[in-house]
Symmetry: C3
Subunit: 265 residues, 3 copies
Amino acid sequence: MITLASDFGSPYPAAMRGVIAGGCDARIVDITHEFPRQNVRTAAFWLRELLPYYPPAVHCAVVDPGVGTGRSALVVRAGEHALVGPDNGLLLPAARRLSDAVEVFEWTHDDPASTTFHGRDVFAPAAAAVHDAGVDAIERLDRAHPAEEHVDLAFPEPTIEEPNGHAIGEVLVVDGFGNAITNVPGGVCEGLFGESVAVNDERVPVERSYAVLDPGDRLLTVGSHGNVELAVNQGRGEDAFGVTSGTTVRLEWSVDKKRNDEDSA
Amino acid sequence: MITLASDFGSPYPAAMRGVIAGGCDARIVDITHEFPRQNVRTAAFWLRELLPYYPPAVHCAVVDPGVGTGRSALVVRAGEHALVGPDNGLLLPAARRLSDAVEVFEWTHDDPASTTFHGRDVFAPAAAAVHDAGVDAIERLDRAHPAEEHVDLAFPEPTIEEPNGHAIGEVLVVDGFGNAITNVPGGVCEGLFGESVAVNDERVPVERSYAVLDPGDRLLTVGSHGNVELAVNQGRGEDAFGVTSGTTVRLEWSVDKKRNDEDSA
Amino acid sequence: MITLASDFGSPYPAAMRGVIAGGCDARIVDITHEFPRQNVRTAAFWLRELLPYYPPAVHCAVVDPGVGTGRSALVVRAGEHALVGPDNGLLLPAARRLSDAVEVFEWTHDDPASTTFHGRDVFAPAAAAVHDAGVDAIERLDRAHPAEEHVDLAFPEPTIEEPNGHAIGEVLVVDGFGNAITNVPGGVCEGLFGESVAVNDERVPVERSYAVLDPGDRLLTVGSHGNVELAVNQGRGEDAFGVTSGTTVRLEWSVDKKRNDEDSA
């Protein structure tokens, strides 16, 4: 299986599908081609959240503002998975989530047919070649060499002080529903469900699901990615909370979580 | 084959594809993930219109404003098809269109990993399990039990009085082209093609195709779903007629349909 | 393999996928369903640019403002490929790009179920039938007959006068990134990279890739389709150059290209 992900929209990904369909017999599954344009960080977040749900596969992911410059092409082995894409950090958070055993290869290639569409001319052929050889045989491919260095990307870590009743994090990504996904792990909500917390000094209920509130009501919940998110039932948390990717989020609670846990147990 | 349909947009459906690809060897076909957000009724309409074109399959459909509340998960058998999704009426119009033999099962499940993304954590695994067992063996799955009750959904029926020359219906759905699809069966147009009718008191020609008119001209036609629709050649009927989902539509004709039929035969 | 392309958006293409999945066992690959509505010329351009990346396949493409009128249905054989769609010129530029051996068949059909959705009722079944029979056996199908005439479509040719240092072309298409793709072949840029040219009297640098410039800077580059395109790094060339599909583009250079080529070699 080869998965495809990009910020290309339509119709460019069709050329990648054609190259892969012509280059190997892999099943092709689209992740999305609607990543926000040129936004490596947001795409890296989603790849990290989505790829672990896949069986072993070759994942070809391209968000590539540096296309046509000197940046390298990478093949990253993460356990039984391989990730193929530009050397700009895009692949690394997903690779580390997929496996503790991450190996980074540089993929050398001839001058591609274009300087602006390496998804078609470099990464799709590379993904087909890796699929054909097998993820465990990357080093046997002439074009693959252990990378001496590569660009990394890491998401900021939140500050959590349970005894003081606060957490300081930031919005990593806003999803298509307008939910503002933070880097604060959902675990901080344990013992707080049904209570309220202060989000940047405004009190908001903590709920397990949107629909327990009225349409338009704000809430703090734990999203499907396991992180705290700022949401609105049937609305856009991004707007209601006035936040966007990168906004600092300070959560404060004055609740005896332990006691609440016992109550709800 | 497992088909997928939702209002999730991008990139969440990719997690469902991964879960299914990892859980069974079914071919995966996307219906759409662009259903209007949280709009169970519109999605139910489209599933009813689209799924009958598929060979026997498991159809996993999720438009689920009540996610994380107490609503049940359903598996509905409709002849050789199965439909999997939330218990909010979404699946029933399609099931009845697919088969006269509709059986509704409740699908029990452990606490899912998330309270907000049952498409990934409940419905995709259920679809894979039903596909693996076979549609004719749903009752042999431990998680499936005949449902004692379930939410239903039906579309309103139009009033048609042929002798009086009028029909009163409503707009069920506006499609992506802006065509306002009513619940009035296209059969009322027999004998009226080339004539005009009054649509909410304004006269509009009845035509078999858009392109016989000038761009921007309004018309009443029979859409591909077999219902009367209010359309504009190369434009948006929704805007030109000032209607939206739920708007009452009154059609009046003063034509001897029978005579026209004979003429055109 | 059957590829699907249209301007249908969502959810109508799902009916075509169902018809094909029920009618033959071909792998189905979506090119796109987001072609600009009713724009045969733009879709014809993209089909010409995208389909050559595919292995031999049946390509079902529908942009069909004349649906339901008298226009014919075509099956076009282009070497080992077949193209299926309406007789409005859509298929021909791609067919000629795919092969020098292009044969055009008219596809006869019974009255389809709808007058507005021949993608589902005529072209998808035709594609399945052609796939089943094999591209080399189209003439053995009862419904296929050599077309006596058919609508053609050709893109305008640019005027290039190398000695005088100018080229006059036009914008064929604007892509989703806002890049204005002209009909001027990229070859005119040889010897001009790193220099500047006048684009409709304004000087713009000629670069091999977007990212060598600052975000927001305009450039002239060679797109992945091999043509000159007017672009902006991380922005929309369409807006920055004030052009759209059909706009005349005059390029002027006063550079000794030959000398530059030697310098850069």
